[in-house]
């Protein structure tokens, strides 16, 4: 009996500790804050608008600041800190923006044209994504406190879209005077409906701005927390440690589970318009993919429906276009549909099949789970339908390595995705299709080199230039004409478009997305009952 004494003692101590822990946990709820807790994946390294380049940091900046304009769900430009829509001079080289008055920054200083000038110039100076602006803006004038004039180098029809960019969220010159040429990563002084109360890379706390110029937040504040993996996010949400789950990078199996919970009314789900496009980039400057017929045969072998059903559980939208629908309002341009018979016919016509199988080396980003599954299902679908003509060998490479090697022309085909830096069709076409220096149809220097396609078209460059001088539907038609050329030349094959998604507990109001895929946190209400 004596030898079990030690064991009994240990067991009783352990049981006591566990019972204390349980008692403690009952007393102290996980989420006892009056604030609404929103979880998303990853960390925020910086809250500086000049550095923000992730959806998460954009989401936070949207709550803390206001942009001059924003896009609504119909894709229309809505003035926020601007009074009216921008006016463009006759020569299209000046943009006049009338600003709202009596708006204060969180530090109490007034918002005016000089603070907007400070913000834009600072972004041009140090902004990580400043390339989206630098070629366009020549100078900025501030003739009146409520009038901002932007002088352009060339007519730019995308300037309106650029003015919705979170990167241009106005900041207080008073608070950023020592940070004109360096980032202020852990603080933000803007005009938004929330003030930043606490910032760590993992947790950010926002409190309502009581002197906000517009509708004040409907909640007591927001806790924004980041977890580093999908299962932690899912677990935190299911166990009600967080009120809202906001993530585009959560794994598709977990998305599906959340979708089922939503269908059973256990939680609420909302989604933005699809603004992220996944596609295959084909290296068009080398054999055999320099042959447009081969590219067509490959495009016709992609079973988007199968991939959508198997990989995303039908939760993503198959795409046969490079521009998200919200930005073009119709579906007039379309890439070739899945047609294995036709694909085989083309391969045969090109001298393949019957013992001579065309093999496509397909690279995917090994750190993006869905890319691997897309590659796998495409490979298997081709194996099942056209194994005597076409095969795909897949190879996973970490994303940073892929980005580095794209412009070296190392990958014959690679799966990538893209979200425009601003809400405009041009933000999807320019980075994929434009080329500064080309030889026939091959790009030597330019954006299409960095997207791995090396594709160029003189006609496309001409259309890009023409679109700069147009507005509205005429401009959109020009951009659609560019997309149509791309759909016939096939340097890229669109796979699907993805929406931002948010899930909330039933005691929280349903999150609402704007046209840029960002939720308005101020509208979230916690119903304690």
């Amino acid at each position: 009996m004596h030898k079990y004494k030690y064991l009994r003692r240990t067991t009783s101590i352990t049981c006591t500790l566990i019972s204390i822990l349980f008692q403690y946990s009952c007393a102290k709820k996980f989420n006892h804050s009056q604030n609404i807790t929103i979880a998303s994946s990853g960390k925020i390294e910086s809250i500086d608008p000049a550095r923000a380049n992730t959806i998460k940091s954009n989401q936070l900046l949207y709550a803390l600041g206001d942009t001059l304009y924003e896009l609504n769900n119909e894709g229309e430009l809505i003035p926020k800190l601007a009074k009216f829509k921008p006016k463009i001079s006759k020569d299209k080289l000046k943009v006049f923006i009338k600003l709202k008055e009596n708006i204060l920054f969180h530090d109490g200083t007034p918002f005016d044209s000089s603070s907007m000038k400070f913000t834009i110039e600072r972004f041009q100076n140090i902004g990580t994504l400043n390339y989206i602006l630098n070629k366009k803006i020549k100078s900025i004038e501030t003739p009146k406190k409520d009038l901002l004039i932007i002088n352009l180098n060339n007519p730019s029809s995308s300037i309106e879209g650029l003015l919705t960019s979170i990167n241009l969220t106005p900041i207080s010159p008073n608070s950023y005077k020592d940070h004109f040429d360096k980032f202020l990563n852990n603080n933000f002084i803007g005009t938004g409906k929330y003030k930043l109360k606490r910032f760590t890379n993992e947790i950010q706390t926002l409190s309502p701005n009581t002197s906000y110029w517009n509708n004040k937040p409907k909640n007591n504040g927001i806790n924004f927390i980041g977890y580093d993996n999908s299962s932690a996010l899912y677990g935190a949400f299911i166990s009600k440690q967080v009120d809202v789950l906001l993530s585009n990078s959560i794994e598709d199996t977990l998305r599906y589970k959340l979708n089922l919970l939503n269908q059973k009314n256990y939680i609420k789900e909302s989604k933005s318009e699809p603004i992220e496009i996944s596609f295959v980039s084909l290296r068009t400057n080398k054999k055999p993919l320099n042959n447009i017929q081969i590219r067509l045969a490959i495009a016709k072998s992609l079973n988007r429906q199968l991939i959508r059903n198997k990989v995303s559980y039908s939760l993503r939208t198959s795409a046969s276009s490079l521009i998200p629908l919200i930005l073009k309002k119709d579906n007039s341009v379309s890439w070739p549909d899945f047609d294995p018979k036709e694909s085989k016919r083309i391969f045969r016509e090109q001298g393949y099949c019957d013992g001579n199988i065309f093999n496509l080396p397909l690279t995917y980003r090994s750190n993006v789970a869905t890319d691997k599954l897309i590659a796998f299902y495409w490979q298997q679908s081709v194996k099942a339908e056209m194994k005597d003509c076409f095969s795909i060998s897949i190879n996973g490479v970490e994303s940073t390595t892929i980005y580095k090697n794209l412009s070296e022309g190392i990958y014959p085909s690679v799966i990538l995705d893209w979200t425009g830096a601003y809400s405009d069709p041009e933000a999807y076409l320019l980075p994929l299709l434009s080329c500064n220096e080309f030889n026939k149809n091959y790009c030597l220097k330019g954006e299409s080199v960095f997207s791995g396609s090396f594709w160029a078209s003189e006609k496309v460059e001409k259309l890009f230039k023409e679109s700069e001088n147009l507005k509205g539907i005429e401009r959109l038609n020009k951009l659609l004409a560019i997309e149509k050329i791309a759909s016939q030349s096939l340097p890229y094959i669109p796979i699907w478009t993805s929406s931002q998604k948010a899930w909330s507990q039933n005691y929280i109001s349903k999150p609402i997305f704007n046209g840029s895929g960002i939720i308005n946190m101020g509208e979230l209400i916690k119903n304690e009952n």
Partner: protein, 340 residues
């Protein structure tokens, strides 16, 4: 005895004088390896959408346009001046980033070692006392399981059981979302004690529980196995037989004779375990979103943040070298058989 202390002192001096050489080799290796590795910090920062001009401008701004030799000389000059440079992606001083992240790793590491000892030692002892009986088998199974379980899987199971199903412990993070703990040293448990803040203490302990239990359990096998083996070896020694013959009771034999002698090899193992935790708790830190140094290192590698990776590797190396030196000295002090 005096001669041995002098020898230990000389040995320590030699070891300390070799630290700069060790660090030079490590820092040079990491510098070269990072540059050889595929990928580019410019691509990690700008993504694939930026144009050539923007890339070149950023490259110049970050000093990456200079030749490797010039970058290496600058890097060594900075190191000599104890300057680890600025992070390429955040532009914050590397030393500041490490200072923020290191306490989290040390805190997790220390508590995990404590948990490992609390689990491992009783298991090892019970196994030995009940050799080839039920408790021995249980002890062995637990010991082997702790080796065999993949850390990420073990961590996810712990999250599932304690956080999602039982809902008794938080799923991740270092302190409650709603709280704003005062940071003095960066060690939240210590800071809450210094601040006399019971809520912060509870919150920090509450968040530390699951990751440290998981990591502690995974490490416990090493402790239970080594204690069992060394204790068994001690019990077979002549001095134990002599002690039994002198009529000393079982408890005193264990505490005063067998246990201290079996602790010396375990002390070495503990040193290795602590050293490996400095950078090896990555999977636990990722799974529990624990903002430690290993997680920072992983992020820095993904972003190809050369300066930050170099800084973390150098600081981790210094910690490992110092721990090893400390263990060497302690063993020499406590074990008179060890001669230098």
């Amino acid at each position: 005895m005096k001669t041995n202390i002098k020898n230990v002192f000389n040995y320590t001096l030699i070891k300390i004088s070799l630290i700069p050489l060790n660090l030079w080799i490590i820092s040079s290796l990491i510098f070269i390896l990072l540059r050889i590795a595929p990928g580019d910090p410019i691509d990690a920062i700008l993504g694939s959408g930026a144009d050539q001009e923007a890339r070149e401008l950023l490259r110049i701004r970050l000093g990456l346009d200079q030749s490797i030799q010039i970058q290496y000389i600058k890097y060594l000059k900075n190191l000599i001046n104890f300057n680890l440079g600025d992070s390429l992606s955040t532009q914050e001083p590397v030393i500041q980033i490490i200072r923020d992240a290191l306490p989290a790793t040390i805190e997790l590491g220390l508590f995990s070692i404590l948990v490992a000892i609390f689990i491992g030692f009783p298991l090892g002892y019970m196994g030995l006392k009940n050799k080839n009986k039920k408790y021995d088998y249980i002890s062995r199974i637990i010991g082997i399981s702790s080796y065999a379980i993949p850390p990420f899987w073990g961590a996810m199971m712990m999250q599932l059981i304690f956080s999602v199903i039982c809902r008794v412990l938080p799923i991740g993070g270092r302190f409650p979302i709603a709280d704003n703990p005062q940071i003095i040293t960066g060690f939240l448990i210590l800071d809450s004690i210094l601040e006399n803040d019971l809520n912060a203490f509870q919150g920090a302990l509450y968040h530390l529980a699951l990751p440290s239990l998981t990591l502690g359990f995974l490490l416990s096998g090493i402790f239970s196995r080594s204690l069992r083996l060394n204790l068994e070896k001690s019990y077979k020694s002549a001095y134990i037989d002599a002690a039994i013959c002198r009529g000393i009771n079982e408890k005193n034999i264990l505490l005063n004779y067998a246990f201290p002698n079996s602790l010396i090899p375990i002390f070495t193992i503990t040193g290795f375990a602590i050293a490996s935790l400095a950078g090896g708790s990555l999977l636990i830190e990722v799974t529990f979103s624990w903002p430690g140094l290993a997680l920072k290192l992983q992020e820095a590698i993904l972003q190809r943040d050369y300066n930050l990776v170099q800084g973390i590797v150098i600081i981790t190396s210094i910690i490992i070298i110092l721990i090893n030196l400390f263990i060497d000295i302690m063993i020499a002090v406590f074990d008179p058989r060890i001669k230098y």
